[in-house]
């Protein structure tokens, strides 16, 4: 190399350098904040600069690369060791999987989308609302003042999360009140966090009718509880798909929020939906109405699974499979 006049020093590459230094800094900050606090108080949220630094990471690109990598078909001999490592790392219960033979899954993406055996998830008959997913309850409660808690003490704006509502105009009432159909009602929320080893399909939590799909392209930061405690408005910054409609008590919505490793969201009855696509403009959202205006709307809706379209939207039954998260 000396004879050719080239330097031994590698050429500086800004992206890996930024990732390493930024990641190191965030890791250090996270460690410092998580250190034992004498007063037992939770760590303070990250500063806007720290959040901006995190958001500057190419999480969408990383996510898509991760997805492509996991779409590559593995040779049969490699499948068992790779999936066994994943099962061991994330505590996957393969006894519940519809197909327990690891050789059946061609890649990690397919393994991640594995289905469950019938009847391993009985539906609670005494509750009008059931869990849509396997996971952990991150937070739940009543929504006050149009601010929702993603975890205790860390909030996000309801309006930013759902986007502007049709027909609201210059309505002086709060955003929360504008969603309610009766003064005797309140707005409630539940957040379910899905860990990497969990079954990643989501189901209808009740009998309801979906009228609108709103896709918010966005960042793909981690949504694990540690990050949700640090990044205010995390659920408004990340890519998400909000399905809104009506149930027996009025307004109802189910929103699937993506993350770095799980960047794309599929809704079985909506073949038009494309998430984690390279083109992305910050703050934009894309609506798709399932309410039939004419026959053409019904044709492009691409209804699949057990869902059915009626004049007023897509009718979902309690427990019915609605969609899934995918790697990348």
């Amino acid at each position: 190399m000396l004879s050719t006049g080239r330097s031994f020093l590698p050429r500086p590459r800004p992206l890996p350098l930024l990732l390493l230094t930024g990641g190191g800094y965030l890791g250090y900050e996270h460690y410092r904040r998580r250190g034992p606090r004498k007063d037992g108080a939770p760590p303070p949220p990250a500063t806007p600069t720290q959040v901006a630094l995190y958001r500057s990471f190419p999480t969408r690109l990383l996510s898509r690369t991760w997805g492509r990598l996991n779409g590559v078909e593995l040779p049969t001999w490699l499948r068992k060791p790779v999936f066994s490592l994943y099962i061991w790392t994330f505590g996957v219960n393969m006894q519940e999987a519809a197909v327990e033979d690891l050789h059946h899954y061609r890649n990690l993406g397919e393994f991640f989308r594995r289905r469950l055996k019938p009847a391993v998830r009985p539906l609670c008959a005494s509750s009008c609302l059931i869990s849509p997913a396997d996971g952990k309850i991150l937070h739940f409660g009543r929504v006050k003042n149009s601010e929702v808690e993603q975890v205790k003490g860390v909030t996000y704006s309801l309006e930013h999360f759902l986007g502007p509502q049709k027909g609201r105009g210059n309505d002086p009432s709060s955003f929360r009140d504008s969603l309610l159909s009766s003064p005797d009602h309140d707005l409630f929320h539940v957040v379910v966090y899905l860990a990497p080893g969990d079954y990643h399909c989501f189901h209808s939590p009740t009998d309801w009718k979906v009228e609108l799909r709103r896709h918010f392209p966005g960042s793909l930061m981690s949504v694990n509880p540690g990050v949700a405690r640090l990044v205010k408005e995390l659920f408004c910054l990340n890519e998400r798909v909000a399905l809104t409609g009506q149930w027996q008590h009025g307004f109802f919505s189910l929103t699937a929020v993506g993350a770095t490793n799980v960047g794309s969201i599929r809704v079985y009855f909506d073949q038009e939906l494309q998430t984690n696509a390279p083109r992305y403009s910050k703050g934009s959202f894309h609506d798709y109405s399932y309410v039939a205006v004419d026959d053409q709307v019904l044709q492009v809706a691409g209804v699949g699974g057990g869902a059915s379209v009626q004049g007023g939207g897509v009718v979902l039954q309690k427990g019915e499979a609605v969609g899934e998260f995918n790697l990348g």
Partner: protein, 32 residues
Amino acid sequence: STIVLLFEAPKDFSFKLQPGQPIRVGEGLGSV
């Protein structure tokens, strides 16, 4: 990944949950 449910319900709706509890598809979240 995360699922967020936001819904309208009568004021006496009550959750049958604990923060941090593991949950599975089909288990009850609450009722009126």
